[in-house]
């Protein structure tokens, strides 16, 4: 059990939680989080939002019972977490576009802080959040509220494109790569439901041309062309 240092609402229904302790992790990796009770049964996967010497941070949106419970936690309360999990984003060179939609922006903050030569594209449906935070770590942040942020990204300008967001957005990125015959790498971070989080149960499988892969181990970050995206 780890102690919560703070748990602050940063925009309607979106919270930023800081948990005390020494943690590890690479860009795109995630942790499985849960309270101390057995119900709700499964742990919830959250991407690393930020990581420092003595704490880890997550950014989460309240969507159901699990995240609702997280939101009710206060400074001094505790949480269980297991991680870092997943393959994360590969070590890359070259120009990179980080594209996030909605709560999909969560892993991009950590990514932007570590990668050089990146442009950040953040799309929101109704209200932007954490704009100041992103601006404080990069001078190339582009924000769009309403509409598709993906339309703003000129794929050819980049060697790599990392997309995090709703499945519709990931699909659109994949399609755009095909349509524009883009030869760089389009990475997507998938959000399949998980149980074990460590590769043992096979409930998180993603199908692709080369067979089945586990989102929690071989993913959650995949090359778009490696995975079939459906809801």
């Amino acid at each position: 059990m780890a102690e919560i240092m703070s748990n602050i609402q940063v925009s309607p229904g979106v919270f930023r939680i800081k948990i005390s302790g020494k943690y590890e992790g690479r860009i795109g990796q995630f942790y499985m989080l849960r309270g101390s009770r057995i119900d709700p049964l499964l742990s919830r996967p959250l991407s690393i939002f930020d990581l420092k010497d003595h704490y880890i941070e997550f950014l989460y949106q309240v969507v159901g019972e699990g995240t609702h419970l997280f939101a009710s936690l206060k400074r001094g309360d505790s949480l269980n977490l297991v991680g870092p999990l997943g393959n994360g984003f590969p070590d890359i060179e070259g120009r990179t576009a980080l594209v996030g939609g909605g709560i999909g922006i969560a892993p991009l903050y950590f990514a932007a802080k570590q990668l050089r030569d990146t442009d950040i594209y953040l799309g929101f449906r109704e209200e932007a959040c954490l704009v100041t935070d992103f601006n404080s770590i990069s001078s190339n942040v582009r924000i769009k509220v309403g509409g598709s942020i993906l339309d703003e990204v000129v794929f050819e300008d980049y060697d790599h494109i990392l997309v995090c967001g709703p499945t519709g957005m990931l699909k659109a990125a994949k399609q755009k790569q095909v349509e524009q015959d883009y030869h760089g790498n389009v990475y997507v971070s998938v959000e399949n439901k998980m149980a074990c989080g460590i590769g043992a149960c096979l409930v998180c499988s993603v199908k692709g041309p080369e067979g089945t892969k586990r989102a929690c181990v071989e993913g959650p970050v995949f090359l778009a062309k490696e995975v079939d995206l459906d809801d």
Partner: protein, 310 residues
């Protein structure tokens, strides 16, 4: 000194905790988190003769105190297991159970033959990777598959008899709670020379997405596991254990040391832990110390003192 050990058909279990098939991979993943050789045993992910890519679409859904899964027996096939995973098993100091699934009786037989053959070859080199075969006649997630055998006793008898005939490896039959008559099923297993029965597999269940107006699972139904089903599993284990003389492995919804003790008191020789591994990555070692503590507090030396006491 507390003695937790037990055995099935001469296979030694240092304690009653066995990790359940399909929830523990082949053990490697959890071995990163604790020393799995503290366990009594592990049952590997269900294997079939040929590799299976499993079910399409969503595979998991949470329910009140439970979960539905529709993995559909995704697995790399027995050959792949024997070539790539069994080596890891050779080095494990615990009872190693291969969980064998199938769609047709021939597949079960061929699968058992492969494992048998492999065992002989390893034996010749002084090695061993598989201690027990657990025959899964009960997977509710494979269409026109294993489940058919899991429901009717006389249909299941064919499979058990044929598999028993082709292998000398200790054989445990994993029973389905969806069986028409679970007790007669277990009695049949005993009659056909099985060395034990394990129960319960997941319970066939359903979840509908009322907005999409369809089942959340492509396969329509899925398998319910977790604490929600424990009271049912416990009753079934008690019913079966009261009627057969072969060992019973109790499975279903265990999440605490006292849950384990309940199954032992209901007559189980061993227990299996499935879904709880997802809740607590250290489930195995924590349950072990919990059981030891319980026995210390209650002044119990061996599980035989309380086994089947109800």
């Amino acid at each position: 000194m507390i003695n937790l050990s037990g055995s099935i058909a001469g296979v030694h279990f240092k304690n009653p905790l066995v990790m359940a098939s399909g929830t523990f991979g082949f053990g490697k993943e959890y071995a990163q988190y604790y020393d799995i050789s503290v366990l009594g045993g592990i049952a590997g992910k269900g294997l079939t003769l040929h590799p299976k890519s499993g079910n399409e679409g969503l595979r998991v859904f949470e329910t009140p105190s439970g979960m539905l899964n529709s993995v559909g027996l995704e697995n790399p096939g027995i050959k792949h297991f024997l070539e790539n995973e069994a080596g890891f098993w050779e080095g494990l100091d615990l009872a190693r159970i291969v969980n064998l699934g199938g769609d047709h009786i021939d597949e079960y037989i061929e699968g058992a033959l492969l494992i048998n053959q492999d065992s002989r070859i390893r034996e010749a080199k002084g090695l061993k990777a598989v201690d027990i075969i657990e025959l899964n006649i009960s997977c509710p997630n494979v269409k026109e598959g294993g489940l058919a055998y899991g429901i009717k006793t006389e249909k299941a008898r064919e499979v058990v008899r044929e598999v028993r005939a082709v292998t000398s490896i200790p054989l445990v039959i994993k029973l389905s709670p969806n069986a028409e008559d679970l007790v007669s099923m277990a009695v049949m297993c005993e009659e056909e020379g099985a060395d034990g029965v394990s129960l319960i597999n997941t319970i066939s269940a359903m979840k509908i997405d009322v907005y999409k107006r369809k089942s959340v699972f492509r396969n329509l139904y899925a398998g319910l596991s977790g604490p929600a089903i424990k009271p049912i599993a416990l009753r079934m284990v008690h019913q079966v254990a009261s009627r057969v003389n072969i060992p019973v492995i109790g499975v279903g919804g265990i999440t605490s040391a006292t849950d384990v003790i309940e199954f032992i008191m209901a007559g189980a020789s061993l227990v299996q832990i499935g879904t709880y591994n997802f809740v607590n990555i250290h489930a195995g070692e924590e349950l072990l110390s919990g059981i030891t503590e319980f026995m210390n507090n209650e002044g119990i030396q061996t599980l035989d003192e309380i086994r089947g006491i109800i």
